[in-house]
Symmetry: C2
Subunit: 444 residues, 2 copies
C-alpha cells in the first residue's frame, strides 16, 4: 500500500475514533455500551484506550457479557486491571466471572490488593444467590451517631454509594439494626441519636444464601429500593437494589419460557448459534425417547388402523388439541410458582382448578368435534369415539400440565425445565391410547 494512502487511512481512523469518543463521553453509559457493541473489536479497543478510566469502567459495566468478555481478553492486562479498579466491586466480580481462570488471575494480580480481596470475596458467592448479585458500596453508619452526623457521613459517601438515599445503621459488632432514609434524617432533630429513630422499625433482610429470585420477590412485594443482605450472624454484607431486581425478574421470566420448551435458559439472539445447537439438542433427543412411548401405543393398534385408516387422519387432532390444553395449564402453573413461590396448598388448589377447566373445555370441544366428524363422515360411532377420547385427553392435559411443575418442584428441580416436552408426551400417549383403544372396542 502506498505510504500516502496509509497515512490518509490512519487519519481517517483517528477522526472516526475521535467522533466515537466524543459521542461516548457525553452519552449515558448504557447508551455508550450500545454504541460500543456495534463496533468491531479493533475499534472497541481504540475507543476504550481513548476514554478516561472511569468512563471506560462505566461503559464496560453496561456492556453485554459476551462482547465484554472478548474485549477484556483483548485489552492489555494493565489497562484491563486499571478499568476493573474503577468499577464497583460487584460489577468487577461479574466481569471476571465471564473470563477463564487464567485471565482472571492475571488481572486480579494487577488490581490493588484491597480491591482485589473484596472482588475475590464477592466471587465466592453463588451467582444465583443474594450474595452473588449484591452491591457492597453502601453508607454504613454506627447507631450511636446523631442524625446530623449521619447526614454529613452520607453526603461524603454519596458519590460512591449505590443507593445514596439510605443509611444502613449497625451496632458495635457490625450487625444491621436498621435503615434510615436521607429524607427522614433531614426531617429529624439534628441531635437525635439514630438509635431512637429505629424504634418500631421492622427490618426486612435476606441472608447471602437466599435464592436471587426470592430476593426479587421480597423487594417487589414491599416496593423497596434496596434489600439489605446479611450473614448468618446478622452482619451487613451488602444490598440488592431495584435495578438488579429488574434484571432478575426479566431473566427469570425468560428462563421459564425458554426452559419450558427445552431451549437454553439464557439463550438470546446473541448466543453463538452453535452453542444454541448444543443447548437444545439434548432436549430434542429426550423428546425422541418420549415420542417412542406414544409411537409404541400406535404400533400396538396398527391392526386397527389398517382396517380403519381414517383413524390415522383424526388421531393427530386428538393429541394436538389435548397437548395445547396441557400447555395452557402448564404456562399458568409455571408463572404461578414464579410469582408466589412454593405453597403446597395453593399448588394443589391450582391442580383442582385446572382439572375443572379441563372438564368444561373438554366437554365443549367434544361436542364440537362430535358434530364436525358426524357431519363429514356420517358415522356416529366414530364421532362418539373421537369426542370421548378428546374430552378425556383434554382433562388429562389440564391436570398433568398443572401437576408436572409441582412434581419437578418437589424433586428439587426447576419447575419449567422441558415440562412442555413431558406434558406433550403424556397427552400424545393418552390421546392415542384412548382414541385407538376405544376405536378397537367399538368400531371393529
Amino acid at each position: 500500500m502506498p505510504k500516502n494512502e496509509t497515512i490518509a487511512q490512519n487519519e481517517q481512523e483517528i477522526q472516526r475514533t475521535e467522533a466515537h469518543l466524543a459521542g461516548l463521553e457525553h452519552a449515558h453509559p448504557a447508551d455508550g455500551a450500545d454504541v460500543l457493541e456495534e463496533m468491531s473489536l479493533a475499534d472497541q479497543m481504540i475507543v476504550v484506550k481513548g476514554l478516561d478510566l472511569e468512563d471506560a469502567a462505566d461503559v464496560l459495566a453496561e456492556m453485554e457479557k459476551h462482547d465484554r468478555a472478548i474485549l477484556m481478553r483483548s485489552l492489555s492486562p494493565d489497562l484491563a486491571a486499571d478499568i476493573l479498579e474503577q468499577m464497583s466491586p460487584d460489577d468487577a466480580a461479574d466481569v471476571l466471572d465471564d473470563l477463564d481462570d487464567e485471565h482472571r488471575q492475571r488481572l486480579l494480580k494487577r488490581v490493588e490488593s484491597v480491591e482485589a480481596a473484596e472482588i475475590e470475596s464477592l466471587m465466592t458467592f453463588d451467582p444465583d444467590t443474594a450474595g452473588g448479585v449484591m452491591n457492597t458500596e453502601i453508607s454504613v453508619v454506627d447507631q450511636n451517631l446523631t442524625a446530623d452526623q449521619a447526614i454529613t457521613l452520607i453526603r461524603r459517601a454519596a458519590e460512591e454509594s449505590e443507593i445514596p438515599y439510605y443509611a444502613y445503621i449497625v451496632d458495635g459488632e457490625d450487625k444491621l439494626v436498621g435503615v434510615v432514609s436521607l429524607r427522614n434524617l433531614m426531617l429529624a432533630r439534628p441531635r437525635k441519636p439514630l438509635r431512637e429513630m429505629l424504634e418500631n422499625q421492622q427490618l426486612v433482610t435476606a441472608t447471602h444464601d437466599t435464592d436471587k429470585e426470592e430476593v426479587a420477590h421480597i423487594l417487589r412485594h414491599y416496593n423497596f429500593l434496596a434489600l439489605p443482605i446479611v450473614d448468618f450472624e446478622g452482619r451487613l454484607l451488602g444490598i440488592v437494589t431495584h435495578d438488579d431486581v429488574m434484571d432478575i425478574i426479566h431473566e427469570e421470566a425468560s428462563e421459564d419460557m425458554l426452559g419450558m420448551v427445552g431451549a437454553g435458559q439464557d439463550e438470546t439472539v446473541d448466543t453463538p448459534w452453535l452453542r444454541s445447537v448444543a443447548l437444545r439438542l439434548p432436549w430434542l433427543i429426550v423428546n425422541i425417547a418420549n415420542s417412542i412411548v406414544a409411537a409404541l401405543v400406535v404400533y400396538h393398534y396398527e391392526g386397527t388402523i389398517a382396517q380403519i385408516t381414517v383413524l390415522a387422519v383424526l388421531m393427530p387432532m386428538v393429541a394436538n388439541l389435548a397437548g395445547n390444553a396441557g400447555q395452557q395449564s402448564l404456562a399458568v402453573m409455571i408463572r404461578q410458582l414464579a410469582m408466589e413461590g412454593w405453597d403446597p396448598k395453593r399448588a394443589w388448589y391450582a391442580v383442582w382448578r385446572e382439572t375443572k377447566i379441563g372438564v368444561v373445555n373438554g366437554l365443549a370441544m367434544s361436542i364440537l368435534i362430535f358434530g364436525g366428524v358426524l357431519l363429514l363422515t356420517s358415522k356416529p360411532l366414530l364421532a362418539g369415539v373421537m369426542a370421548v377420547a378428546l374430552g378425556l385427553d383434554m382433562i388429562v392435559g389440564n391436570a398433568s400440565g398443572a401437576m408436572f411443575p409441582i412434581i419437578l418442584k418437589i424433586l428439587g428441580r426447576d419447575p419449567a425445565q422441558a415440562s412442555s416436552i413431558f406434558v406433550t408426551t403424556v397427552t400424545d400417549t393418552m390421546g392415542f391410547f384412548l382414541f385407538l383403544g376405544l376405536a378397537s372396542l367399538f368400531l371393529l
Copy 2:
C-alpha cells in the same frame, strides 16, 4: 340460638377482629393486603371499617385486583369514597378501573371534587400506556428557584411524594427542563439557581401515549428510579417509577408465556375458573381449524397409510419433534422482541440464525432417527424417508418459529398471541406432507 351463645360468639368475633386489626396496623401494607385477602368478605369489611382511613387506603392499594373490586363494591359508598380520597390518584384510578360504570360514578360523586377531577383525568389514559401507569404525586419546582429554596420545597412535599429524592424542574409554561436529585441539591451552593444545575443535562422522557412496555425498557436500560412522562408540548404530567416497572416487566413476561399457548394473558390461579374457560376455549377452537389443515394432508395420503400402516406409527414423531424445535425458536424470538423491542435488522438476523440451528439440529436428529428406524425395521428406504422428512421439517420449524412473531409484529399484533398454535400447525402440516409424500414416492 340461645342469647348467651350469640353474645359469646360476638365477643369472640370482636376479639378476633381486634387481633386482625392489631396485626394489620403494624404490618407493611403489602403484608396487610396478604392477610386481608385470606379472610372472608365479612371479616374484610369489619377490619377495613376498623382501620383508620389512611391505613385502609394503603392496604387496599396493595390488594389483588379481583378481591379488591369485590370488597369495594361491598363497602358503603361513603366509606369507599373516603378511602379513595386517601389514596394516591393513580392508585384510586386503578381501583375504579376494576369497577363497573355504575359503581364508579357513585363513588366518584362522593370524592372531593378536586381529587375526583384528577382521578378522572388519569382514567382517560389507556391503561397500557405511560399515562395509564404514571404517578402524579411529585415534587415540581420552578427553574428560577435556588438550590436552597428547592430543598425546602422538597422537604415539605416529601410526605406526599412517590419518589422523594428527585425534584422535577419546570419553566414558566410547566414544560419539564430537568431533574435534580436531593443529593445534588444538598451538595450544591445554597444560592445556586436551579437553571445553572441543568446545564449539559440530557433529559430522558416519554410521552403519555408511549407503550408501558417501552417505558419499562427505557427505565431498565438507564437504571433510573423514575421516568418523567410529558404531553406532546413537553409539559410534565407525572412519573413512572421503578416499582411500577417491576410490575410491568413481570406482567409482560407472563403475558408472553400465557399468550404463546393461547391462555388468557393475565390469567393466574386466582382468575375465576369459568373465566379461564372462556379465555382459552376460543384458541382451542382456532386450533381445531388449524388441525383440520394437517388432517387434510393425512387424508390425502390415506391410501398410502392403508398400504403401509407403520407410517401412522412414525408420522406423529416427525410432527412432535419438529414442533418442539419450532417452539424453541419461537420462545427465543418472543423474548428477544420483548427485551429489545422491534428492530427489523436484528429480527431477520434472528431468523437466519434459527434456520442455521435448524439445519444442524435437523441433521443430527435425522442421523439418529435413520439409525433407530433402520435398526428396528431393517428398511433403509423407510428410515431414509423418515430422516429426510424430519430434518426438513425441523428446519421449517426453526424458521417459522422465528418468523411467526415477526409477522404478527408487522401486522401490528402481539408477537406472542397463540403463536405456538400456529407454528405447530405449520410443523404438523409440513411434517405429514413431507413424510407421507416422500413415502408415497419411494415406498409404494
